[in-house]
Amino acid sequence: MSAANFNNTNASALPWFERLDRIDRRWIFLLMFLAVSGPILWIGVTGKTLPEAPTLAARAVFQEIDQLPARSLVLISIDFDPTSAGELQPMATSLVRQCAAKNLRMVFIALWPLGSQVAQQTIQEVIRDDYPALKEGDDFVNMGFQAGNEAVMKLLLTDFAKAFPKDSRGEAASNIPILNSVKSVTDFPLLISVSAGYPGSKEWVQYVISAHNEKMNFVSGCTGVNAPQLYPYFPQQIAGLLGAIKGAAEYESMVNSSLAVEGVVTPPKYSQAQRRMGPQLVAHLFMVGLIIVGNINFFARKRRGAA
C-alpha cells in the first residue's frame, strides 16, 4: 500500500506549510470526490439546477438549427464513444431533440467505432420515445460506423453512398428514401458533429468545411479538451460551438425553454447537463481553492527559506 503513499512519519515535527506541502494526495482525492458527489446528491434530491445565461457560441448553435426550414436534411456525426458520454451525451440528446421538434430529416453517421451504438441509444431515447411519428428511413436513419477517419470524410464529399453503403438495419443506401436527394455531403445544408477528439470536428473543418463553407453550415459540440482547438474556427468555419458541459447546459436550457409547453414538465433527461453544472461549480471552486492554498504554501516556504 505504498504506491501512492508519501512518507508521513515525521510529519508532526515539521512546520505547517511543510506538512501541507507533503500532504498525502489521497486527501485531495477524497475532497474531490465529496465536492462532486455532494452536489449530485443535493440536485438529485431537490431537482434544482443553476440558471444558465447562454453565450454567443451556444446561441449560434440554436439559431443555425432554428433557421432551417422544416424537412431540411441534417447530417449528425456522432464522433465519440461512451467514455465521453458524460460531457457529450447531453449535447447529442438536445441537438437531436431540437432537430426532431423542428421536423428536420436527420442522417446519423459515426466515425468512431462505438459511435454507432451511441447514435442508436440517442435515437431510442429522443426520437422513438418522444417523437414516435418520425419514421426510420423517411425522417431519420442511422448509417452506422465506417472506419477510415478523414478518408471517410473525403469520400463523403464525392459519394455519400459509397462512404456509407448501408444503414444500421442493413438496408442499402440506395433503398433509403431520405438519401434519395443526397449525392455528397454538401447536399446537407447543416452538418452537426458531436466530437471527443480524432477524428472529429477539427477534421470536419479541415477536410470538408473549409472548402465548402458556402454550401453548408457546420455546428459542433465538443469536449472541454477539444474546445481550445476549435475556438479559433468560430465563427468563420464553425458557425456555432458548444464547448464542454457548460456549452451543453446553455444549449439545453435554450432548447428546453423554446420547446416548453405550459403545464407540462420537461422530461428530466433533457436537463442532464444543467444538473451537472452544480458539481461542476463546487469542483471548480475546490480547484481554485487548491491552487490558492498551494500558492500560500509556496510563498510561506519561500519566505522561511529566504529568512
Partner: protein, 342 residues
Amino acid sequence: MTRQGKTWLVIGAVFVTLLVVRGMIGQGLGRVYVKRTDVTVNMPDAVDMNTAAASSSTTTVAPTTSSNGKPLSWQEWKQVAPLAFAAAQKANPAQTEITLSWPRTIGLWLAAFFTLAIFSFLYADNSFYKIAESLVVGVSAAYWGVIGFWDTLVPKMFGALTPGLVKSMVQPSLVSPEPLQQISMALALILSVMMLWRLLPRGGWISAWPLAFIVGVTAGLKIVSHVESDLMAQTAVTMKPLVVRVTDASGATNMWDSWWASVANVLLVVGVICCLTYFFFSVQHKGVVGGAARVGIWYLMITFGAAFGFTVMGRIALLAARIEFLFDDWLWLIDPNHLRGL
C-alpha cells in the same frame, strides 16, 4: 496499522454502513427490469433469394439456414424503467411481460464493483484493481479484435474478395465491389501475409516491407495534409489588419469597439510571430530573437492555462457521470430521471 490507515478504514466503514442501511430502507438497491417482445419474421422463399442474388454478377451461395419459407420467431427483451414494472404489476400482478432480469441485474452490480475497483486505485494498488485491470485488458483486446473483424475485415476485405460469401452470411444488401476495391484489397491481403510472415520460423525480415510501405505512405500523405490545412490555412487567416473599424448600425465608427478589435488583432498577429520565434532551432535565443521567444513562451503558457481550465470541466463532468451511475442506477439514492417515481 498507522493512524492514517485507521482513518481510511473508518471512512470506508462509514460508506459500507450507509450502503447497508440504504439497502434496507425504501425501494432497495439497483435492479433491472425488462419487457419481453416476440419477433416473428418470414424466411423468404428460395426463389426470392435467387432473384435478389441474381442482381449481382457474383456467384450465388446457398443460404446457410435450412428453414426456408418457414416463419422464424424469437423473443427480445428491452430494458424498461422500474416505474413501468410497478405499473404493470399494479394492473395485473400475474403478468410476465415485464420481469426482473437477473443477468442484467448481476451485470449492474458487477459494473458497480468494477467502478469501485478502479476508484480503489486512487488509494493504492490492490487486488481489486488488479482484477479489474486484468479483465479490462483481456476484454478490450478481444473487443477491438472482434470490431476489426466484423467492421473492417468482413465488409471491406471479404466484401471485396468473396462478395458471395458475405452476401449469403452477413449482409445480403452488399453492393458489388468495384475492380479498384478488389485490387486494393488483394494488395492489403498480400501486405498482411507479409506482415504475418513473422510468425514463421524463417524469413521474418519480409515483414519490414509492409511496415515500410505504411510509414512511407503515411509520411507522404501527412506532409501534404499538414502543409495544406495547418501551415497554409493558418497563415492565411493570421494576415489580419492591425487596425479595425467597427461601424454601428447607423454607419458611424464605434471608437470603443474599434479600439478593442484592433488590440485583439495586434495581440493575435504579434503572438503568432513570437511563438513561431520560440520554435526557431538554428538561431540562439539572444537579443531581439530571445525577447520575442520569451513573449512567445508567455503566449504558450496562457494557451496552456486556458486549455487546462477547459479540460478540468470535461474531467469533472466525467466523474460526475460515474458518480451518478453509482448513486442513481446502482444505489437508487437519487432519481433525477424519474425512472422510479415522481
